[in-house]
């Protein structure tokens, strides 16, 4: 019942949105650059374009996944250092805020020069992922209950075993949540990173379609990018749920 109360309005909203989109597109109320929903979907699932979209989605998806792995792993490692060595905390928090407020698009060309055009999407995705993953990881490492912390203190446990036996297991669900929150950022970052010389990807598709004023292709590629961010969120949402079942 609770689930239904949350899901039903969203489903209704999606239906309304799609109908409104279709009507606005057919009546051309918003001009020629606003195609109907059916036209966009037909373009996205056009068999003749399947290879094009498939290659682009594969390239961006792969770069996003690798970037997510690198970004989230380094965020978790730094969050673990922060947890273990208290004096490092303000500096590391400031560093994470710094990475978070980096304008991705402005540093992407420099990154492409440093690490190569084909690797830039991975690097930008990793940078985009870092902050949400770091924020969720610090929360996760703080999740061990005070009672357990006190028990470890009373029994004189060294810092390393406290991290390995208490804080890490207590953090697993939170770390899975970190991946879920960071997944959309990974797709976005990968697409940005493609714009400075990568040979294929959803970002490239969007950019070239918009430069050629190819309305249907642009909308279809934008829809594809949106579906990919949602898919990332959903996949890691399932992982989070599995972790909850096992560890909480």
């Amino acid at each position: 019942m609770k689930v239904a109360r949350r899901v039903v309005p969203v489903v209704v909203a999606v239906v309304i949105l799609v109908i409104a989109w279709e009507v606005a597109g057919r009546t051309r109320i918003a001009g020629a650059a606003f195609p109907p929903f059916s036209g966009v979907v037909a373009t996205l699932f056009d068999p003749a374009k399947a290879a094009l979209f498939g290659r682009a989605a594969g390239a961006t998806g792969l770069a996003a996944a690798v970037g997510l792995l690198i970004g989230a792993a380094s965020a978790m490692a730094i969050a673990a250092v922060r947890q273990a060595i208290r004096p490092t905390r303000p500096g590391l928090d400031r560093f994470a805020a710094f990475v978070h407020s980096l304008p991705e698009l402005a540093i992407a060309p420099a990154l492409a020069v440093v690490i190569g055009r084909e690797n830039a999407p991975i690097a930008v995705a990793a940078i985009a992922v870092f902050f949400p993953a770091y924020a969720a990881s610090t929360r996760a490492f703080g999740a061990a209950s005070a009672v357990h912390q006190e028990l470890f203190t009373v029994l004189g446990s060294p810092r390393r075993s406290r991290l390995l036996r208490l804080e890490l297991p207590a953090a697993v669900t939170g770390l899975a949540d970190a991946l879920r929150l960071a997944a959309p950022a990974a797709v976005l970052g990968a697409a940005f990173g493609e714009w400075f010389g990568a040979s294929r990807g959803v970002g490239i598709l969007i950019l070239s379609a918009s430069q050629n004023f190819n309305v249907l292709l642009l909308w279809a590629a934008a829809l594809l990018a949106t579906l990919m961010t949602m898919a990332g969120y959903a996949v890691f949402g399932i992982l989070h749920r599995l972790a909850l079942r096992r560890f909480a």
């Binding site: 805020a97 940005f192 969007i206 918009s210 829809l223």
Partner: protein, 248 residues
């Protein structure tokens, strides 16, 4: 002495990154043409301050206009959704869906729909700020303390006075948080829209520098963008900390 310690406590990780970068460039003899160290980059900016400042100001202005309009509209519409529940049940799920559309998808689409102009850049930044503000303020307004709601109900308060004296105060922390988020979002969206539309600003300088392989200009511009983005974020998060401490 204490101030120095606090300063290094907060900045050590970022300072270490910059020093490590300069050391890496000098020690490992990397190609200084491709990857200049921080010192030559700062030197290049100091040698030609206007060449960096003017495009930065153009981008900043676009971001600022979009920020003000987007946050204000987000607050107004969230208030409307609270005051008129029918509107709320209609708009809120819609906003949640539209919010999950990534910038890489909606910015080129909006640019194509509205035509390439400065106003379009403002609209894009405003849209980018609107959704986080709407969603966060919406939950802030709904977050009014339960005993306060009971008291107002018992005394037969009107919906407006409940809004004015109960919901608005409880939404203010959410407003400052959404401002902190929107600062980064607005600046990113400004660079992004100017990149897509090729309008003057930091993005066009980046594209130009990349085309002419002027690496010092590329790195200098990226550095300017980083400094602006990071200081905007730090200012906004200081405001957030201050406001939340005052409000609670």
């Amino acid at each position: 002495m204490n101030r120095v310690r606090t300063f290094f406590g907060r900045w050590w990780a970022i300072l270490a990154t910059v020093v490590a970068w300069q050391l890496a460039v000098t020690v490992f003899q990397v190609n200084q043409y491709l990857i200049p160290g921080p010192i030559p980059i700062v030197g290049a900016i100091v040698a030609d301050p206007l060449g960096y400042l003017l495009p930065a100001l153009l981008t900043l202005l676009t971001a600022a206009i979009g920020f003000v309009v987007g946050v204000a509209l987000g607050y107004l519409l969230a208030s409307l959704a609270w005051l008129v529940p029918v509107v709320g049940t209609l708009i809120t799920p819609l906003a949640l869906i539209v919010r999950s559309v990534p910038a890489v998808a909606f910015v080129p689409v909006l640019a194509l729909l509205l035509g390439y102009s400065t106003t379009t850049a403002w609209v894009i930044c405003a849209v980018a700020c609107f959704f986080p503000t709407f969603v966060l303020v919406g939950s802030g307004l709904a977050d009014a303390p339960a005993h306060g709601v009971d008291l107002f109900t018992v005394n037969g308060a009107t919906r407006w006075s409940r809004y004015r004296h109960l919901a608005v105060p409880s939404s203010l922390p959410a407003l400052v948080t959404s401002m902190r988020i929107s600062v980064t979002v607005a600046f990113g969206a400004a660079i992004f829209s100017q990149f897509v539309m090729g309008s003057p600003g930091l993005a066009s300088v980046l594209i130009d520098a990349l085309a002419r392989l002027d690496m010092l200009k590329l790195w200098g511009t990226a550095t300017c963008a980083i400094v602006i983005g990071v200081s905007g974020y730090l200012l906004a998060s200081r405001l957030e900390t201050y406001a939340i401490a005052r409000l609670r």
